[in-house]
């Protein structure tokens, strides 16, 4: 059983954190992961930095630019994560844009993930049709779960197609925006969350974009299985560094 499935079967709301690999310092990747697990985070998206992150707002863009300046590459990330399963057991998902994966070689990338113990990928600019036609078999061969996004504008028909192609969870983008653009949720989100909850999808949903504190986490997970915090975490680590992690996590999920 993949670690993602196991985690999803637990009877709790899941807190997921996104951070950019190689930021603030190039060798922070592993210490951040260890601290997140220690502080009770349920799963993690490790961001592969990209020069042109077109779905991201200023916070994640800046962290990507800095990570690349720090010398982060796909190869380097794999080296850093080589022994990660000796110290970290929560599900790990790599999140990034498709071009660096394409240059690494999709099969070589999936194989490497499998050997390290990476459980899944989120590649927002790899479209469903391309994935199904060319890459699904490779991902499945290496037991790697590919996670798709839906947005408030995604049609019912397409949501069902994405649900069909998914095997883990669906990444529910809370609003039409780039990352880090939203402050809280309004009626529009509530309607959208309710609509998805009644669709009877086979995959649970995890909400991302616009979650920054306890209130937004609770609102997002009222019906969804979990929620992802990205930009707010990057902002915190920019200010406070790794030692700020325990306080930050407790501010979202009090002990």
């Amino acid at each position: 059983m993949n670690r993602i499935h196991k985690k999803l079967s637990e009877d709790k709301k899941l807190l997921s954190i996104y951070f950019t690999a190689g930021y603030p310092e190039v060798n922070d990747t592993v210490p951040i992961l260890e601290s997140l697990e220690k502080n009770g985070v349920d799963l993690v998206e490790i961001g592969l930095p990209f020069s042109d992150p077109l779905a991201d707002g200023p916070t994640i863009q800046a962290s990507s630019t800095q990570a690349l300046l720090n010398g982060m590459t796909t190869q380097k990330l794999f080296e850093q994560l080589k022994d990660i399963r000796k110290t970290v057991s929560i599900p790990l998902i790599l999140m990034g844009y498709f071009n660096p994966v394409l240059q690494y070689g999709v099969e070589a990338f999936c194989k490497e993930c499998n050997e390290i113990g990476i459980d899944g990928c989120i590649l927002p600019d790899l479209p469903l049709a391309e994935y199904n036609a060319h890459y699904r078999a490779i991902f499945e061969k290496y037991n790697l779960i590919n996670i798709f996004l839906i947005t408030p504008q995604t049609s019912q028909e397409r949501i069902h197609a994405i649900d069909e192609a998914s095997n883990g969870f669906i990444y529910m983008v809370s609003s039409a925006s780039t990352t880090g653009a939203q402050e809280g949720f309004g009626n529009e989100q509530t309607t959208y969350f309710n609509r998805i909850a009644t669709m009877d999808l086979k995959n649970p949903q995890v909400v991302g974009f616009g979650i920054s504190n306890e209130a937004t986490f609770n609102a997002a997970t009222k019906q969804a299985k979990g929620a992802i915090i990205g930009s707010a975490f990057i902002k915190m680590i920019t200010e406070n560094g790794i030692s700020g992690i325990p306080k930050f996590i407790r501010s979202i999920r009090p002990l």
């Binding site: 600019d125 504008q153 995604t154 780039t178």
Partner: protein, 410 residues
């Protein structure tokens, strides 16, 4: 039939039965597609489902053609460049896109797309621009139609291209500096895409070249195809045949080239010559010659050739010409290169600047520096005396005067 393997690109012999246009899935050979995040899917899908239907509508065509005639000033002349031809001992015709309103071919596409946006009931227009030519052409049509216009432009380009920034403001557009990444064209494009993600309902994105996710490369090529449509008619009048022996155009993203080649793509009697910017030289690290330096990858939603690091990070190109300063190339052109259908030549800053002066003195036409690259090939690429060579004179040089002045101490 692989005759060359370079940078992971397999180049095949020319195959006359090959299709050089886009297929139903949005691909030119292996290039193209729509590699976009889900947030963009509804916008792009709406366009994909409607663009051919809208464009084939009689009322749309009538309005498009009327604006091209009355507002843009089409047809543009196909001018026999007598003295230029004598110098290079071949027959050179210049397709005078520089005489279009706003000074370049860019407006053919913006006229088409603003009509498309209106048909799709969009009320807000966004665009990216490098040197500002496409931004000006977009601001122009937005003024014409009374639509809100936001143009993203790299912060560095805003400083370099002050006159075009002023033009856009005079035309009522809001110019937003792109301050991310390298602060140039590719970042302006990223910012425009981010804007579109944040405005999924009311906004149309007018992309300025044959780049971006399907259907943009095909839609822009179709709007620009008026160039080769006119060449056919004009050449028939002048030479008694519709097709030249060669069509030459400069390629940054490749929209003027796509328009000049369009009706000749499947005619093997017409040689297609694409001219890229070598910058300071292909091996200097300061170049924009994508066919020579690029590898297959994804940029701005399209699978194509692009300049990038081994790790897949997109690199910053260089050319003296802002319009050729793009790290990728449209998927149509990637396919023309890979299939061998197109002959790709790269021209340095120096050779292009000299060609710009040469045309000015021989024909009384000051070309844009982009176009000067296409004109420079005659120094090294020899043609037969009775060859008919059409060069797409994509833009005029007014915008480049400062560069010409600085370069030659005029």
């Amino acid at each position: 039939m692989h005759d060359e393997i370079k940078n992971g690109i397999t180049r095949t012999e020319q195959n006359n039965s090959m299709n050089y246009n886009v297929n139903e899935q949005g691909y030119y050979g292996e290039f193209g597609g729509a590699y976009i995040p889900e947030m963009l899917y509804p916008n792009v899908e709406e366009l994909r489902q409607n663009y051919l239907k809208v464009m084939s509508d009689d009322a749309f065509q009538k309005e498009f053609k009327e604006l091209l005639k009355e507002y843009v000033g089409r047809p543009t002349p196909l001018y026999y460049a007598k003295r230029f031809s004598e110098k290079y001992n071949t027959k050179v015709y210049l397709k005078r896109e520089d005489l279009c309103h706003t000074g370049a071919h860019k407006v053919n596409n913006t006229i088409g797309q603003i009509l498309m946006a209106k048909r799709l009931k969009k009320t807000r227009i966004i665009a990216e621009t490098g040197a500002g030519q496409h931004g000006v052409a977009t601001a122009t049509v937005c003024a014409l139609m009374g639509l809100e216009c936001i143009v993203y432009m790299g912060a560095i380009d805003i400083e370099r291209q002050a006159p075009n920034v002023a033009r856009m403001k005079m035309l009522g557009a809001t110019v937003v500096p792109a301050t991310s990444g390298s602060k140039t064209l590719k970042d302006a494009t990223n910012e425009a895409i981010r804007d579109w993600i944040n405005h999924p309902e009311d906004t149309h994105y007018i992309i300025g070249s044959v780049v971006g996710p399907h259907p943009y490369p095909d839609m822009v090529a179709r709007f620009q195809s008026v160039i080769s449509e006119e060449i056919k008619t004009q050449l028939l009048e002048k030479e008694g045949r519709e097709h030249p022996d060669y069509v030459v155009a400069c390629v940054g993203g490749g929209s003027n080239a796509a328009g000049a080649y369009y009706h000749y793509l499947d005619n093997p009697d017409v040689g297609i010559i694409a001219v890229e910017a070598a910058g300071k030289g292909i091996d200097t690290g300061q170049s924009a010659a994508t066919s020579a330096l690029g590898k297959v990858g994804i940029i701005h939603g399209s699978k194509t050739l692009l300049m990038q690091t081994n790790d897949g990070q997109i690199t910053e190109p260089y050319s003296i010409s802002a319009g050729l300063d793009y790290p990728g190339v449209g998927p149509m052109h990637a396919h023309l290169f890979q299939s061998g259908r197109g002959e790709f030549i790269s021209i340095t800053d120096k050779a292009s600047m000299e060609a710009g002066i040469a045309l000015s003195k021989l024909e009384g036409i000051i070309p844009a520096i982009e176009t000067s690259h296409a004109l420079a090939i005659f120094e090294t690429r020899k043609f037969k005396p009775d060859d008919i060579v059409v060069v797409n004179l994509s833009g005029r040089g007014d915008k480049d005067l400062t560069t010409y002045i600085d370069y030659f101490n005029l």
